[in-house]
C-alpha cells in the first residue's frame, strides 16, 4: 500500500482495525479478571489505552514481516496474528501456550507469524531488532521489522547503540517508541533531558516523527511511510507515538495514582483510541450500530473461547522443565516436546 491514500479507509478496513483494537481491550480486561482470580500469576502489564499503536502499525506490514516488543506485549502479539487461545493459555502457564507455558505474559513468541517476543529487560530487544534487520539485508530480502518499546527504554544505552548501528548499516527497522509518558512511575521529564523522543532521530541522521498514538489512522499513515522507505531504501526510522496507559504499570500498581493524578487519567481517557475511532467510523457512515454490536459480540466470544481453552489446557508436564534449554545439533527440528502450533487466526 502507498502512504498517500492510507488514510482513506473503507468500511471493511475500518471495522477490521476497530475489531482488532477491541479484541486487545477485551482480552486484557479479561486477563485482569483472571489475574484477580489467581489464574494468571507473576507480572501482568496491560496495554489498555495504547491499542491504536500496535494495531495501526502492524496493519501496514505483512505476515512475512517481523515484529518484536517489550514485556507489554499482548497487544502486539495479537495484532501480529497470534491465536488468542494460545496467548491466553500462555498467560495461564499451560502447555498449549505459545511458549508452552515457559514464557508467560512477558515472553510471548509466535514464530508462525514472525512475532519475535516478548523481552523484559528494558532496551534489550532494540539491538535484537537491528539484528533481524541485518539478517533481512544480508539475505537480500525485502521484509521489515517493527520494534515496539516504551519511553522508558530511551535512556538505556541499548537504545542509542541500536539507533547508531541501524543508521550506520542502513537496516530496515522501524523503531516505534510508545511514549505513554511514564516509565513505571517516573514521568518522562524526570528521566530524559530531551522529552521529544523523535528528536533523537536527528542525531543519528534517520527519519523521525511524532504521531498521535491515540489515532489509529495517524499511526498507520506514519508507520506505512517508514515501512515503505525501509523496504525500498533500507533505511531505519524512529516514530514516537504519543499515547497513554489507562491502567497501572502492572497489576501490582492497581491505583496508578501515586505518580499521576486521577484528573489526568480521566482527562486522558477522553482520548480513548477505540471510542474515538468508533465515533469517527459512525460519523463517516462506515459503521452502523448493528455492526458495532456484532463486533462486540464476536470479540467477546473470541475472548470467552480463549479463557475456556486456556482453562482446559493442562499444566506443562514436569519433564518440560529441562527441555528447550539446549537444541540438539543437527536435528533441524524444534526442541523436544514441541507441539506444532495450529493455524493462526
Amino acid at each position: 500500500m502507498s502512504a498517500e491514500n492510507i488514510r482513506a479507509v473503507d468500511a471493511e478496513l475500518g471495522q477490521q482495525l476497530l475489531k482488532e483494537m477491541l479484541l486487545i481491550r477485551r482480552f486484557e480486561e479479561k486477563s485482569a479478571e483472571m489475574y484477580a482470580l489467581g489464574k494468571i500469576g507473576g507480572f501482568l502489564h496491560l496495554y489498555i489505552g495504547q491499542e491504536a499503536v500496535a494495531v495501526g502499525a502492524i496493519s501496514t506490514i505483512g505476515r512475512d514481516d517481523y515484529a518484536i516488543a517489550s514485556y507489554r506485549d499482548h497487544g502486539h502479539c495479537l495484532a501480529k496474528g497470534a491465536d488468542p487461545k494460545r496467548v491466553m493459555a500462555e498467560l495461564f502457564g499451560r502447555r498449549d501456550g505459545l511458549s508452552k507455558g515457559k514464557g508467560g505474559s512477558m515472553h510471548l513468541f509466535d514464530r508462525s507469524v514472525n512475532f519475535m517476543g516478548g523481552h523484559a529487560i528494558v532496551g534489550q530487544h532494540l539491538p535484537l531488532a537491528a539484528g533481524v534487520g541485518f539478517a533481512i539485508k544480508y539475505e537480500g530480502k525485502d521484509q521489515v521489522i517493527l520494534c515496539f518499546f516504551g519511553d522508558g527504554a530511551v535512556p538505556e544505552g541499548e537504545f542509542h547503540e541500536a539507533m547508531n548501528l541501524s543508521a550506520l548499516w542502513k537496516l530496515p527497522v522501524v523503531y516505534i517508541c510508545e511514549n505513554n509518558r511514564y516509565a513505571m512511575g517516573t514521568e518522562i521529564h524526570r528521566a530524559l533531558s530531551q522529552t521529544d523522543v523523535y528528536k533523537f532521530s536527528a542525531a543519528y541522521g534517520i527519519p523521525g516523527e511524532a504521531v498521535d498514538g491515540m489515532d489509529v489512522l495517524a499511526v498507520r499513515e506514519s508507520v506505512a511511510r517508514a515501512v515503505e522507505r525501509a523496504r525500498r531504501e533500507k533505511t531505519p526510522a524512529l516514530i514516537e507515538a504519543r499515547t497513554y496507559r489507562f491502567r497501572g504499570h502492572s497489576m501490582r500498581d492497581p491505583s496508578a495514582a501515586i505518580y499521576r493524578t486521577k484528573e489526568e487519567v480521566e482527562r486522558e481517557k477522553q482520548r480513548d483510541p477505540i471510542a474515538l475511532f468508533r465515533d469517527r467510523l459512525v460519523k463517516d457512515n462506515l459503521l452502523s450500530e448493528m455492526e458495532w454490536q456484532t463486533i462486540e459480540k464476536e470479540v467477546t466470544e473470541i475472548v470467552e473461547e480463549a479463557v475456556i481453552f486456556a482453562d482446559n489446557s493442562p499444566e506443562p508436564p514436569l519433564e518440560w522443565l529441562l527441555t528447550d534449554v539446549y537444541r540438539e545439533s543437527g536435528s533441524g527440528v524444534r526442541g523436544s516436546g514441541f507441539a506444532d502450533p495450529p493455524e493462526p487466526r
Binding site: I121, P127, L128, A130, Y138, E139, D324, Y326
Partner: protein, 326 residues
C-alpha cells in the same frame, strides 16, 4: 600433518566454515580492515568481503544483540570480543537473550551463535584486561562454554561451535595465540563439544586443568615422574557441557584428584569440578579433592604480584603431594 599456530588454526576454522556455509559471518571490533586486534581474522576481509566480515563500532551490547537477532532470523554469526573482558558490557544480551530465548519461546527460537575472543590471564595487562571469566558463563543454563588449549583443539572445537545450534562462549588466550602444533587440514575435522581429553596417562593422581594451567601441570607431571609420582592430566576442553565421565573414570583409576585453574577460587570452576567428583566418586577417593586456584584478588600490574596471582608450579606440587600423602 601441517604445523601451524593457534592463531592460524582459528583463522583456518573461520575460513573453512565461512566457505562451507554462506550464513556464517564474523563481526566485531577491528575484525576487518585492521585484521583483528590479535590477527585472528587476518585475510578474511579480502577473501569474504565487507558483507561477511563486519567491523563494528565499540558497542559490545549493541553488536552482540545484532548477532543474536540475526541468529533468530536464520543466520549463524560469529561475534568477536576483542578481549572477553569487554563481554561484560554485553552480559545482558548473552545471559538474558542468547541463553534464554530457546527456553522462553518454548523451543521456537534457537540461537546458533559463537562469541569468541581471548580471555584469562595475559602479560601485565592489569585488572581490567586480564581475568578468567569462564565461570560467569558456565553458571548460565543455555550457554555452552569452550576453552581450547591447543592449536588442534582451537580448530576442531571452533568448527563444532559454529555448527552448533546453541550459543557458544569460546574463550581463547592471548598467551597461546603464538603456540605451534599439528593441526589437521581436513575441512571436516571436528572435535565434538563436551568431550574431554586425557593429555597424559598416569596412575597416582588426576589433575584437571585447561589452557595455560594445563601446560604448567604437564611440566609438574614431568618433574614428579622422576620422583615416581604418576600424574594423569585431564583437559575438559568444553566446560559446559562438561565431560564428567572422562573425569570420573580417571578419578576412579587414580583415587586422587586436584583441580588447577587460573581464575579466582571463590565459586570458580574448581568448586564445580571438586563438587561433582565428591558427589559422584566419594567412595573411590583416597583423599579430599584439592583445588589450586588464582588468588581471590583482581589481577595486579606489577610483574611479581602478577606471578603470585596465578597458581605456581610449587602450589600445584603442594596440592598433589597433599592428596597423594607424600
Amino acid at each position: 600433518m601441517p604445523v601451524i599456530t593457534y592463531r592460524e588454526a582459528l583463522n583456518l576454522a573461520l575460513r573453512e566454515e565461512m566457505r562451507r556455509d554462506p550464513r556464517v559471518f564474523i563481526m566485531g571490533e577491528e575484525v576487518g580492515l585492521y585484521e583483528g586486534a590479535y590477527k585472528v581474522t587476518q585475510g578474511l576481509l579480502k577473501e569474504f568481503g565487507a558483507k561477511r566480515v563486519i567491523d563494528t563500532p565499540i558497542s559490545e551490547s549493541g553488536f552482540t544483540g545484532v548477532g543474536i537477532g540475526a541468529a533468530m532470523a536464520g543466520l549463524r554469526p560469529v561475534v568477536e570480543m576483542m578481549t572477553f573482558n569487554f563481554a561484560i558490557l554485553a552480559l545482558d544480551q548473552i545471559v538474558n537473550s542468547a541463553a534464554k530465548l530457546l527456553y522462553m519461546s518454548g523451543g521456537q527460537y534457537n540461537i546458533p551463535l559463537v562469541i569468541r575472543g581471548p580471555g584469562g590471564p595475559a602479560h601485565q595487562l592489569a585488572a581490567q584486561h586480564s581475568q578468567s571469566m569462564e565461570s560467569y558463563f558456565c553458571h548460565v543454563p543455555g550457554l555452552k562454554v569452550v576453552r581450547p588449549s591447543t592449536p588442534e583443539d582451537a580448530k576442531g572445537l571452533l568448527k563444532s561451535a559454529i555448527r552448533d545450534e546453541n550459543p557458544v562462549i569460546f574463550i581463547e588466550a592471548e598467551t597461546l595465540y603464538g603456540m605451534k602444533g599439528e593441526v589437521p587440514d581436513d575441512p571436516e575435522f571436528l572435535i565434538p563439544l563436551g568431550q574431554a581429553v586425557v593429555r597424559r596417562q598416569g596412575s597416582d593422581v588426576t589433575v584437571i586443568a585447561y589452557m595455560g594451567m594445563m601446560y604448567r601441570v604437564m611440566e609438574v607431571a614431568d618433574e614428579l615422574e622422576k620422583e615416581g609420582i604418576s600424574i594423569e592430566v585431564v583437559d575438559p576442553r568444553t566446560l559446559r557441557p562438561m565431560d564428567t565421565e572422562t573425569i570420573l573414570n580417571s578419578v576412579r583409576k587414580t583415587h586422587r584428584a586436584v583441580v588447577a585453574e587460573a581464575g579466582a577460587g571463590f565459586a570458580g570452576m574448581g568448586s564445580e569440578i571438586a563438587a561433582f567428583i565428591t558427589e559422584n566418586a566419594f567412595d573411590d577417593l583416597d583423599a579430599p579433592v584439592e583445588r589450586v586456584t588464582g588468588a581471590n584478588a583482581p589481577m595486579p600490574y606489577a610483574k611479581n604480584l602478577e606471578q603470585a596471582k596465578t597458581p605456581s608450579k610449587e602450589k600445584i606440587i603442594e596440592a598433589i603431594r597433599s592428596v597423594a600423602y607424600v
